[in-house]
Symmetry: C2
Subunit: 333 residues, 2 copies
């Protein structure tokens, strides 16, 4: 678990998109983001107060989060200087970079000397158990996609935010590095050893109050041959009561697989539900989330209306229209 709140380090981000992890934290957990720190040449701006390490410390920040991708997979000397100063000031450091903080000898030495922690969220922090398949109390919802990167994390975060706004009991259960940095905890499921994937999902969504929702972050797709095993571990470890089908209608083929066609929402439903019912016979599809970013307002509305009629389920773009109708459907089961 990463101590919150955070100082968001944007480094020398070449553009706004490079700071998308920091943007996600600010959008979804603004209470975790006390300020931003930018180096010379930084082209990103979250609209937060620019802070020195001292300012951030005074404002209560406990962890400096690297909220930006680095160039060329190297932690530069410029960054290193700031990170070591942060450690010396008592901050933990959290990172989702491919190159790990723990592989940098000077960062390790500084953090040991000052009793702080380095959080590499790409690396599982604990030994997960093998899944036991026992029915757990509380409710769980999972987004499954026709493809990778169609908006499953966003859908989950939007559902969680809407549930909290309504006073419902909800926790977003992160299963990827960005989600972990946003919420401060979770499992980097793609980095877990095969035998323990489903057990890791059980671990992060334990027994809970009967009216509590775990909103489990989806990964991969049953139709994406590179990652489908991870998706099935989420379906079987998560034993969801409710499934949201997620789709991006303008994509031409499966991400990174030019020979693989995107399945229909009906094909996704028919593939997913028999698998989901193995772990939870009462599992239902309750709604559809569509990423309409590449469509005009009119196109998006027409598409959503058509899908809704065809599938007989609420179909929304939670970014464009909010997750209210998905939460209505979840609250009804």
């Amino acid at each position: 678990m990463i101590p919150t709140p955070y100082l968001l380090f944007l480094g020398d981000a070449p553009d706004q998109l490079a700071a998308k992890v920091a943007q996600g934290i600010k959008d979804w957990r603004p209470e975790n983001a006390v300020g931003q720190m930018r180096l010379e040449g930084c082209k990103a701006d979250l609209g937060l107060t620019d802070m020195s390490l001292e300012d951030a410390k005074a404002a209560g920040a406990k962890t400096l989060v690297i909220g930006v991708a680095n160039r060329g997979g190297v932690i530069s000397e410029t960054w290193k200087k700031v990170l070591i100063e942060a450690i010396e000031a008592g901050f933990d450091i959290a990172s989702g970079l491919h190159n790990l903080l723990r592989d940098e000898a000077d960062l390790v030495a500084a953090s040991m000397a000052h009793g702080t922690s380095l959080h590499d969220v790409r690396v599982p922090g604990i030994d997960y158990p093998i899944a036991n398949g026992k029915k757990r109390s509380g409710k769980r919802v999972l987004a499954v996609g026709t493809d990778c990167s169609v908006g499953k994390m966003y859908t989950g975060l939007a559902i969680d935010a809407e549930m909290r706004a309504r006073g419902m009991k909800s926790d977003f259960r992160a299963t990827g590095q960005t989600g972990i940095l946003i919420t401060g905890q979770g499992v980097p499921l793609d980095a877990v050893i095969a035998d323990f994937m489903a057990g890791a999902v059980e671990y992060i969504s334990p027994d809970n109050d009967a009216d509590h929702w775990d909103v489990i972050e989806g990964q991969g797709s049953l139709f994406h041959v590179s990652y489908s095993g991870v998706t099935l571990a989420l379906i079987h470890g998560g034993q969801p009561d409710a499934i949201i089908l997620s789709h991006e209608p303008t994509r031409q083929h499966m991400r990174g697989l030019p020979d693989y066609a995107i399945p229909s929402l009906e094909a996704l439903r028919d593939m997913c539900m028999p698998l989901a019912k193995v772990a939870n016979p009462d599992c239902k599809v309750v709604g559809i989330s569509v990423n309409t970013a590449a469509m005009s307002d009119d196109e998006a509305n027409a598409y959503l209306t058509e899908v809704e009629e065809r599938m007989g389920l609420p179909a929304v773009d939670p970014f464009r229209h909010g997750a209210g109708r998905l939460v209505d459907a979840l609250a009804a089961i």
Copy 2:
């Protein structure tokens, strides 16, 4: 890749069952087993010539394989003495034990000093790629089970042996530790990091002659919530042309999961095939292998006849009746 042939180390095996890995090597790759080595008190006997290290060396053995489970997860001093003598004599050591050879400082020091290798087959030896899903040449068959441990490895080894006996081109592609020790190569799929599971399966079953069969060892079950993700990675990474359904008809519930019922063969077929067709639209179920070990001859025959009529596919116990009819069906596609 483990250098063959082997000297099979049975240690102080308390009974024949404890030496089942060695038995598997002797049964399926007798040409790899030049002899056995037993310590005082050993209760297992493979019927091979008992050999000293010198005898085995003279007979051409290159690797000492630990073909027996150890007690209490500790490599005893008695074993250690033999293993170090073997290393000094120039043997590689191969092991599927939970406790790793590489974690024993004296074995590591000896193997470095003598230029030999320690093969821990529970640990992936290479960095596997992410699966690319590209169609590969050659043919592939995979056994998928209603449950774990229903005879999928045995089915694959029997098919491979029958194909070789007929002069067909075939390779058994091991995906578990016993299979790896038997054939000298493969991937311990349950120990691979999630993102690389399907890529590992692609890696071990590459492009091949059009009339060559990869007989890929199955793992887990789509209906076993603890391991189903591994099974799906095999189906999608293996892109099989042919599926064998495997079943053990007397089991009362899923292995280790008392609340989960065993699915029917029909349910397995209907769950598996839409998933398999994602990676290979031409994939077919060609036969059924049944583990009838717990049945009398009459019961087994009656059961197989009933299944065969019901499913319209050849149904055999390859241990009892050989894999001939399964290979007939494979040769016909």
